[in-house]
Symmetry: C2
Subunit: 186 residues, 2 copies
């Protein structure tokens, strides 16, 4: 998402963004990635193609923007009363949401926006912020908590790597194993 | 790379593949990703655009094919006489080759060929085969060796994740730290 894509909530700019994002999601759901073209998006969203190009630059950057929106957490991670339980539940949800073909596509799109590599970083920050929130809560209960970057390496990185490159064996049990290993060694 | 892109060495098919791959690399080097279009590739390679489409299907699949070719190891991993030394040297080379903007682009392209998700898997297999070769050599010297999938999780996944999503702090020292941690806990 480039600077110019930042929209004030409620303004025309925000309405265009919503309509264009919705058009991308609908076209994708109806016809797959091949159906997602700038002319089709513009027609569906009721704007001109030049509005899309002016705002996002190119299709890859628009897709990265849509992916970022979908990857943004809905709220703080669920509280299950313990560090291990919270991390396991978070990792389970991660696998369920991003291990699907659609989730994989979002991750791909997030690294695909050549015009703005910051989208991938923000997507990674979402995960780091969720892990930090879980850690702060656990520390408040007096639990020993591994650092956020250690958890990124031990839990998030293997999950994302396997979703994108090596899906065989990716499962909730595998994700929980990563969490247990991270808590044993740290 | 789809089945039809598999070429017999020396045949016309192989010559077309070489010319097209070279055209992609040259256009990329000269004008960046924006210069890499099917018409420009075809002109540079001396073939028709329909030859490119017939063989690769679309640009993303061609780019994934080129990326796979560049990510293929040149030979067996260097032998430094010990498991830790071999893994550290391998991880260092991985960071130097793939941590560059060009390397990141290859990794992105490898997951970007929607028409054939197998490219990402083969790219991952290259790394697994190198780690397996290092492990077999170390076992032959009587060293204790972690499993290949454990090394994929502990070393390869964090490196690839950080290259694609979270480059801050990515360095040779970081890669070596991952290797040491993998050998301590396994």
């Amino acid at each position: 998402m480039s600077e110019k894509a930042v929209a004030r909530p409620g303004g025309r700019s925000a309405r265009v963004q919503q309509a264009v994002h919705r058009a991308v999601r609908e076209l994708e759901a109806e016809g797959g990635r091949g159906a997602v073209t700038v002319p089709a998006i513009a027609t569906r969203a009721g704007v001109t193609p030049s509005t899309v190009y002016r705002r996002w630059g190119d299709l890859a950057t628009l897709l990265a923007d849509v992916a970022l929106e979908r990857l943004r957490p809905d709220g703080p991670p669920a509280d299950h009363g313990g560090l291990r339980e919270d991390l396991e539940a978070w990792a389970e949800q991660f696998v369920e949401e991003l291990g699907s073909p659609t989730g994989r596509l979002y991750l791909r799109d997030a690294v695909g926006g050549a015009a703005d590599e910051g989208v991938a970083g923000r997507c990674s920050d979402y995960a780091a912020e969720q892990l930090r929130a879980i850690g702060v809560r656990a520390a408040g209960r007096g639990e020993a908590v591994p650092g956020v970057e250690a958890l990124m390496d031990a839990v998030v990185a293997p999950l994302v790597y396997r979703i994108l490159f090596r899906p065989d064996g990716l499962s909730v049990a595998y994700a929980q194993g990563l969490v247990r290993a991270a808590l044993t060694t740290d």
